[in-house]
Amino acid sequence: MKKILWLAVLAAALLGPCLDLPGIESPLAVAADSSTAAAPAHPPAPKLTAADYPRIAGVNSRVFVWLAAQLHLWFAAFVLAVPIFVFIIEAIGMATRDKRYDELAYEFIKVSLTAYSFTAILGGLLAFGLLIFYPHLFQYLASIFKESMFYYALLFFAESACLYIYYYGWHWLQGGFKKWTHLTLGLLLNAVGTVLMFLANAWTTFMMSPAGVDAQGVFSGDAWAAIHNFLWNPINLHRTIANVAYGGSVVGAYAAFKFLSATAKEQRAHYDWMGYTANFIAIAALLPLPFAGYYLTAEIYAYSQQMGITSMGGIFAWLFIIQAVLIGALFLSANYYLWCGMGRSDGAARYNRYIKYLAIVIVGAFLVWFTPHTLILTNAELKALGGPYHKYLGPLGIMPAKNGAVNLMIIMTTLSFLLYRRANKIATVAWANTGNAIQVALFTAGIANILFISIYHGYFTNTVYKVASSIPQVLTTLIIIVASTVIDFLMYRGAKQVAPLHWGRVPDRAQYALFLLAVAFTWLMGLMGYIRSGLRQHWHVYGVFRDASADAFTPTLGYAANVVTGATIVFMALVIFVFWLSQVSGRKTPPSGYWKEQPA
């Protein structure tokens, strides 16, 4: 026993200077002191003062960590999304034996390599930022998540190994069993990447909904409880889907740029096809994203009503108006791209007359979503209006109206997809008319149901039912998406083509819709990062570990938007650099006369 104590004292003496920070009793120090008092195995969350936060003159600690975290997250999302995207494209190529898919997939995994380095560099910057400016917070989190942080670092080796073999072995592992081995490596790469993201999500969500600790922040020792905290799975789901959509949008922007720069017809056709495929994947992931958002928000409410109301009320209420503008931009640009893309098909003229109705409904739904509830007015305006709500527009500002609007927007986007899909086809099955009638009935009944639920439950029942009514609306939308896609797939199996698709026959302005999609996605991710973090208000770890720094206050929306804007511009510049590097690697300049001629 005495030997163990001596060893503990020796270990504390050796490691103590590394681990001890003023104001925090390290676990080792506690162990060494166990002879004098029965100290707990884990200390409570420290109670800090502003003096406990180191400062560097001229550097705003919070903005530094904010920028590093946001840039790291964007690149991480990109390097996680691209392998998912590449894996899907490679699998489609294998299934269809269309080499174009394989070449497209390779073109993108090449970009991942440089982006991967940026992710690691920015991750290091974030870790150093936390260590320098928020050492007590970092130590507290490390004391709880030491195992997962350790394995996280080790998993990077696995991730790097998978990525390098996947990339460098692309041309080696071709054909038959070798191709399957290569695809399996891609799957492994995605699996490791996803586990990495889930681990990092655990640390972030622990700060929002701490688990495995008591009210004073004393850790119970159950690391799984801390990882598997209340908001872990909702964030995992939301980020996974969002990553796919984000990856698709960035790839789409790349294809759009290449399309605009291309002069040869074949090149334009190739990049048009690439842009369409990327946009398809982005929109396929964008459609379920609002549902994942609902789930996350519902779980935030279930975890803490106070946090839920903070997210939807006060300052953050206006954030959701900005979010509405951005998501409206995403939906409008995605639909616009599809409508422009119908020009590739000779048979699209049959459906062109419906486009204006789709546009009207989507814009109408966007305007409802965009309408604020309580207006901030001057006294005279308030008097003229008769209250803080507009008589007719005010009711459109509440959540039930927005639920209905967003569901309609999703349904109309699905309809755009179906019209695009069938534009160049003529169904040959005997039950084509019946199939069409079923689809019309499905959309009509579904839309009627959504309107009834959002109006009746939204305006004539109490809050509990108003919130709960979002679930049947979501289910209705999902049923419409799944059922109509299945019917369409069966109906157009073996369908006749009107004429071969004219890839490249798309206006240049459609490509700008793809740029808008990528830029809006990036900016939106930054904005939502602000609210996710801002929900903790003046807490490092919500309700357990208070933020006592000079920056503990919630920044205004405008300030946050400016930080996000700055970060977006930096990120865009880095992404352009990454894409440029991937192009440079393929260029060759003949160094005529530079090298000494070697005798044969």
């Binding site: 803490s304 109301i309 809050t463 740029f515 208000q537 919500y542 206050f553």
Partner: protein
Amino acid sequence: MKIFLKVIVFSLITIGFFAGFSNFGVPRIEPAPPPEEAELDLGAMTMDRFIALGGEIYNGKGTCTLCHNALGRAPLLDKTATVAAARLKDARYKGAAKNAEEYLYESLVKPSVFVTAGFGKAGTNDTESPMPDVSGGAIGLKEAELKAVVAYLQDLAGAEVTVSIPTGLGQTQTKEASAPAAAPRPPAKDAPTLLAQFTCTACHKVKGQGGVLGPDLSKIGATRDKNYLRRAILDPNAEITKGFVPTMPPNYGEQMYAKEVEMLVDYLAGLK
């Protein structure tokens, strides 16, 4: 290069629009600063001030009105103190309180001991409350603050305030401290002091400062006469301004001196 520049300019304009809309398209709201950890000075506190403190906590730090409002997320608490006796006899009650004061206190720290029908967590058949223990977590009310809220809720319901002001200094001091509570409150020396004593600005803006739960009073004198203002203080539910919900306590007429009511009416009528 020309295409590259066009794409860059397009992207910057898009980003600029998002940033511009966030800065100029939505109201600029300064979020409230983090709450200060202030020590309560209970030694010189009167019962009226203690009740008012409960009201401030109820509308502020306690974040009670986030849910307990007319929107129906949680039950209104204006009558809870008077129905407490019935709750204690209810078969669904699972607590250990013996009187209304203990019941109210228990509801704050163990909200699931009795859940009002229809307000429980989904799927729990009203056996579990979604409300947190307000003595812990992000709200973290202290013992004296909890008691102040109980006193406020008793007063709000028009019930007898049985809470004694805690001192933490022992029984003798508690008695001494509660003695002045029974003594009549000295009238406020002016209207701003009165507004502060009765925490009116928790809900109303006066001279641009205050909450938004009630109508802005900064220029109320320009649109309302003295009779209207007097009635609005003594019987606030007689007429509700459009767009607002009836949350103002109806018993100011019993709490303010007649002289104070007139002083306040004159003051508000002068705000133009």
